[in-house]
């Protein structure tokens, strides 16, 4: 894979909104000058609750290869419990970043050979006035803090537009608060 493409794999469960999250980051990246933002979900038969993943590729140039990511630079995990079923770091480049939604501390979440960033998105989302289990906007904040790839304000605007009429402010607040509270391994 060409080195000027940043590859980000998102792991979630069917119905969790991982695809929406990745799409919003694609949009934010595109608005920030990445002309080649591509988000390609890997589909099974749609089944609620089953582990799913989606590929987000970001580049300054047009991307012609739409095949799923095999060697990501960054992995985002919307539910830490997926890690007991799915090898989320499969193919992750050495020293690659893992962004985790987990109640566990950074100390307890470390993964050998990779950099980890953690946030308790479930808790922050509830505090922000979202329904139980809505984590796909909060995780965007964690992603922004951990990677610095896209500005949190740009992402927050994208979230407000996407969720217009559906707790837009609360969703944007979840992202911003998560951004502030995300702990990133040095």
């Amino acid at each position: 894979m060409s080195s000027d493409i940043i590859e980000i794999r998102w792991h979630g469960r069917g119905g969790m909104g991982a695809i929406t999250a990745a799409k919003l980051v694609a949009e934010g990246a595109f608005l920030s000058g990445y002309g080649g933002a591509i988000m390609a979900p890997t589909f099974g038969t749609e089944r609620r609750g089953a582990p799913v993943h989606t590929s987000l590729k970001i580049s300054k140039e047009k991307i012609n290869d739409l095949s799923p990511i095999e060697t990501p630079d960054i992995v985002v995990v919307l539910d830490h419990m997926i890690m007991s079923e799915v090898d989320v770091t499969a193919g992750l480049k050495p020293g690659g970043m893992v962004v985790l939604n987990t109640p566990k501390s950074l100390e307890k979440s470390k993964i050998n050979g990779y950099r980890v960033a953690v946030a308790h998105v479930n808790e922050i989302a509830l505090e922000s006035g979202l329904r139980k289990g809505i984590v796909n906007t909060g995780i965007i904040g964690a992603f922004a803090k951990a990677t610095g790839l896209v500005d949190i304000d740009v992402l927050s605007d994208c979230i407000e537009r996407e969720f217009a009429g559906k707790r837009a402010k609360e969703n944007a607040a979840a992202a911003k608060t998560t951004y502030e509270r995300t702990q990133v391994e040095e």
Binding site: R13, R48, K132
Partner: protein, 99 residues
């Protein structure tokens, strides 16, 4: 017969658990039965069993105290919806994770 040499590859699935793997991992919420409210458990006689009847995956037993095979239960919640005495509660899987 010659026919045995042909159509050696077709898409057939046999009945039984596990054809699609460990589908229990798909669960977001888990059905938990309160035996104090469950009709057959309470009366100690075969009755109701609507959860057994409606479970689309056939993973609920038709016992006086029904058991659910958690390896394959996808957590769809139909049993909880159908239970006439509201004996089945859907509990978030996160509640069962050891911190």
């Amino acid at each position: 017969m010659g026919q045995d040499l042909f159509a050696i590859m077709t898409s057939n699935a046999e009945g039984g658990e596990g054809d699609a793997g460990n589908t229990g991992s798909w669960r977001v919420e888990r059905p938990v039965i309160n035996m104090a409210l469950c009709t057959p458990a309470k009366k100690q006689k075969a009755s109701c069993h609507l959860c057994w009847l409606y479970c689309p995956d056939g993973v609920i037993s038709k016992d006086l105290e029904p058991e659910i095979i958690m390896e394959y239960c996808k957590g769809c919640g139909i049993c909880a919806e159908e239970c006439p005495t509201n004996a089945i509660e859907m509990v978030a899987e996160s509640e069962f994770v050891e911190e």
